[in-house]
């Protein structure tokens, strides 16, 4: 009896720091998410009395909601169609150019939609080079690919952006799945498809559900892609919120739509955490040499080649079109009909470094890159720290944890306009003032990145056999030493992957940033928008050049991080 009592006291004492640490993400969340969002809702309700007319309301809500769900469903489906096979080949095979390919697939995340739209137009637009090429070859009068401003363009852009989520989230888990399970299944007479359905899929269920949910939410709240590539025929809830809030100054309507979007998101994340709460089969970190092999049959080779080809067409060619455009000067030659002359040029790059108009807001590219990087790095630190602490809490399987899990996903389904305006409403006096508190931008980015980070770190954390930490404790290692020598090396792979996600989200995020940005801290997307907001060939060329620099620098940074793994885990 006495002994038990003693033990209990010891146990609760032992968990105290754990619980305190677990509170940090909650406090962060309450201050930087619930406070601004509820403030904006309160304000919307205060103003609601006179501005909302009920009879017109239902169609104004129903149409964008229906379209948001429908396009998100289609986009997620097609992203999965490319993303799952891609995740499979990245997890299971060795092939030349793999690490480069893996980096390239993360680049779309950092690209502002305005340049991506330009890239798609340069590639498959009515006068994009693919259409020009096809028209020349087949002697066609009209461009054969006419998908700009259609649902197809929206889906294509979403596939472009989100394939990397499948590759990282599912591929990451898949690489931890013991290949021998698949071999055993095969030797028992199960074909590849049956093995996938009966063995792989059930075991990777959490990763699959996570990836689908993340991508669905991203597509569901899509804004710029719908606006710029879908055209005016399409409006998601997010587009409507933007229009209502910023063009009609109808805050109550925006608040209502935002609330509906949020309720829908909450519904989805609740279903998610409910379906995902069952037994999770722990996957342990594995040596890539054990799980990755060279393709040896013709089918495998063909499969890899075709997936790489598809990835290249959808992910790389639009980006490449941008790069090429940034080096090309197009001159119209005055002759009969349309005749264009293409010329190599470096002038868009040269002019980036000159403040031609002597404007006080001129953004030197290096400053923009530095700002973007610093904000990105702070986001990485915040997101990894909070994501790690939240993941620890989430590893305990209690009812509270399930609610917590669902809530942490909410920022993904929250309109950037709502969050941005909420920040302005709440953080306008010291100590946290939008005008002077420089951490608000990385904090906003952290909110968006956190769901991704948690989805990656949590499974890795669960996969650490308790045996390891226990045996280390038996050998007299302090908790800190255990963490440093056992947990960190095992988690480092997940940390790298999650950190890259947080970084790319931060670099590319534009929605909430526009509300919080400060002219003294311009980021790359903001610089790009400044160029594109005025007419003139030079502005356009400079925007493309800036985007190219962004792409190259980020690719190099990711490449370095992926290479400079922490010592001692180079084999993993």
């Amino acid at each position: 009896m006495n002994f038990n009592h003693e033990k209990m006291r010891k146990t609760s004492f032992k968990y105290l720091p754990k619980i305190l640490l677990g509170l940090i993400p909650i406090i962060f969340f309450v201050i930087f998410y619930f406070l601004p969002v509820s403030a904006i809702f309160t304000r919307a309700i205060e103003l609601a009395s006179n501005q909302i007319k009920l009879d017109q309301l239902i169609p104004r809500i129903w149409q964008p909601l229906r379209f948001s769900v429908w396009q998100a469903f289609l986009s997620t489906f097609f992203t999965a169609l490319l993303g799952i096979p891609a995740a499979y080949i990245f997890a299971r095979f060795k092939f030349p150019g793999k690490s480069l390919m893996r980096i390239i697939t993360t680049i779309p995340f950092i690209m502002p939609t305005v340049v991506v739209a330009a890239g798609f137009n340069a590639f498959i637009g009515p006068n994009g080079w693919l259409n020009v090429f096809l028209m020349k070859i087949f002697n066609l009068g009209d461009p054969p690919i006419a998908i700009i401003n259609t649902l197809a363009a929206i889906i294509l852009a979403h596939v472009f952006y989100n394939t990397t989520v499948f590759i990282r989230v599912i591929g990451g888990a898949w690489a931890q799945l013991d290949r021998k399970l698949e071999y055993a299944s095969g030797s028992l007479g199960a074909s590849r498809i049956k093995t996938f359905l009966k063995i792989t899929l059930p075991l990777l269920r959490p990763a699959f559900i996570s990836a689908f949910l993340l991508v669905f939410l991203f597509d569901f709240t899509s804004f710029a892609v719908i606006l710029m590539l879908g055209g005016p025929g399409f409006a998601t809830l997010e587009v409507e919120i933007y229009t209502q809030a910023l063009h009609l100054l109808n805050l109550p309507m925006a608040g209502l739509l935002s609330g509906i979007q949020l309720i829908f998101t909450l519904l989805l994340t609740s279903i998610y955490s409910w379906t995902n709460h069952g037994r999770i089969f722990q996957l342990t970190a594995r040596d890539p040499n054990e799980v990755e092999k060279k393709p040896d049959s013709l089918i495998e080779k063909l499969m890899i080649i075709s997936i790489i080809l598809l990835l290249s067409v959808i992910l790389i060619l639009p980006l490449l079109s941008l790069v090429i455009r940034s080096f090309t000067q197009i001159n119209s030659i005055s002759a009969e009909g349309e005749h264009l002359d293409f010329q190599f040029t470096l002038q868009y790059y040269q002019h980036l470094f000159v403040n031609e108009r002597q404007s006080i807001f001129y953004v030197p590219p290096v400053t923009a890159i530095q700002n973007s990087f610093v904000i990105g790095l702070i986001t990485v630190i915040f997101a990894l720290l909070l994501g790690y602490l939240a993941s620890r809490t989430l590893s305990m399987n209690t009812k509270f944890v399930r609610i917590y899990d669902a809530l942490l996903m909410l920022p993904l389904g929250t309109s950037a306009v709502t969050l941005g305006l909420g920040f302005l409403l709440v953080f306008n006096k010291p100590p946290i003032d939008v005008r002077s508190f420089p951490l608000l931008i990385p904090i906003a980015h952290t909110l968006v990145g956190l769901p991704f980070v948690i989805r990656i770190i949590q499974p890795a954390l669960v996969s650490i056999p308790e045996m390891y930490t226990q045996s280390a404790a038996l050998l007299g290692a302090s908790p800190w030493k255990i963490w440093l020598n056992i947990e960190l090396p095992i988690l480092s792979r997940a940390f790298v992957s999650a950190g890259i996600f947080a970084f790319t989200i931060s670099i590319g995020e534009f929605g909430a940033t526009t509300f919080l940005s400060r002219p003294d801290l311009p980021t790359i997307p903001i610089a790009i928008y400044r160029y594109l907001s005025q007419p003139g060939v030079m502005n356009y060329g400079q925007a493309m050049a800036m985007a190219t620099i962004l792409m190259v620098i980020c690719a190099m940074a990711i490449f370095l991080v992926e290479r400079l793994r922490l010592p001692g885990i180079s084999d993993f």
Partner: protein, 346 residues
């Protein structure tokens, strides 16, 4: 039944298997024996259909299997860590292969029960895999592999993860099961004790090549070279030169050794050879033939007797003796000519 013909495979430019050929006959268990890295597991994967050889053939009754997918081969497979499906219980693990045959639910139930009976796991049918001990998992893995009645069973270090006592017990059971089911089997291991217990034929692999192939008895009696001898645990190797053919006499730095063997003719005079002095068959002697002398440096009690270690001209030799010796004593033994084996220098 199964013929492996001239299998060739490289890994990152280095040869992993260099022309491996052997046959597996009906009711026969073949043991692939070798150190880790010898290529034995790769060979097993090639036979299973997990990997493809770069050269050579895998034939089943004359039919080339190289392009036949793993799930169409009907070869049972068992891994060192069992690879049981963690999301299925014991029953469903064993039933998995049967479900792939589209059998009726009743038949599946019946056959799963039979298989679980064989491995004495009937009472565990509804248990979770994660709740089983290592030995129990091993039995389930065996039942699962046997359930669809494979035409060949392959076991990759099936006992590697178990402790010694359990290993002995399970080894016996596997041996009985293999004899009972009459399924030809390929058993991969690095443990010669296991191999000698279970294998009808042994295939010794080293650096991607078959070093020796034969029955356990044959290999034990005629290890082909130093490597095989050492692998079998024979450490007393003495280099020497043939000085007489009939009777065969080999001169070494320890003196002359005369041997009693059948095929004296394969040796020629002045040929460099190596002698294997088996640890048994020595006696203390004052004679002048087949002598070994030196200082006792260690003695280990083994139950029936002792194993003593003698420093003979700076080489440590091991012998089994009945009585105990004091460390530091100088001794002189004569070796029974039938306990000496001679092979060409390699």
């Amino acid at each position: 039944m199964l013929s492996i013909i001239d299998i060739y495979k490289t890994y990152e430019g280095k040869p992993l298997l260099r022309g491996i050929s052997f046959d597996v006959h009906e009711d026969e268990t073949i043991c692939l024996l070798g150190h880790s890295g010898s290529g034995k597991s790769t060979l097993l994967r090639i036979i299973a259909g997990i990997e493809k050889p770069e050269g050579g053939k895998v034939l089943w009754d004359g039919e080339d299997l190289v392009n036949l997918a793993i799930h169409k081969r009907n070869f049972g497979l068992m891994f060192q860590d069992y690879a049981l499906f963690p999301h299925k219980n014991v029953f469903e693990n064993v039933a998995f292969g049967l479900r792939m045959l589209n059998l009726s639910e009743a038949t599946i139930k019946e056959r799963v029960n039979i298989e679980l009976e064989k491995v004495k796991m009937v009472n565990f049918a509804q248990r979770r895999i994660t709740d089983l001990s290592g030995g129990e998992q091993q039995r389930v893995a065996l039942a699962r592999a046997l359930a669809p009645h494979p035409r060949l069973l392959m076991l990759d270090e099936p006992l590697g993860a178990l402790d010694k006592t359990l290993r002995g017990q399970l080894l016996k059971e596997i041996r009985e099961l293999l004899h009972e089911t009459k399924i030809p089997a390929i058993y991969v291991t690095h443990d010669q004790e296991e191999a000698f217990t279970i294998g009808d034929q042994l295939v010794l692999l080293n650096e991607g090549e078959i070093v020796q192939h034969g029955t356990p008895k044959m290999i034990y009696q005629n290890p082909k070279n130093t490597w095989v001898s050492k692998f079998l645990g024979f450490n007393n190797i003495v280099p020497g030169k043939v000085t007489s053919i009939n009777p065969l006499v080999v001169t070494s730095k320890y003196g002359d050794f005369s041997l009693i063997i059948k095929d004296n003719e394969k040796f020629s005079l002045k040929q460099e050879v190596k002698l294997l002095l088996r640890p048994n068959g020595i006696q203390e002697s004052s004679g002048s033939e087949n002598l070994i002398y030196g200082k006792i440096i260690d003695s280990i009690y083994l139950g029936q007797g002792f194993r003593i270690f003698i420093d003979c001209l700076s080489t440590t030799m091991e012998f089994d003796v009945k009585g105990d010796y004091k460390i530091g004593d100088y001794v002189k033994f004569s070796i029974d000519p039938s306990a000496i084996h001679c092979f060409q220098s390699d």
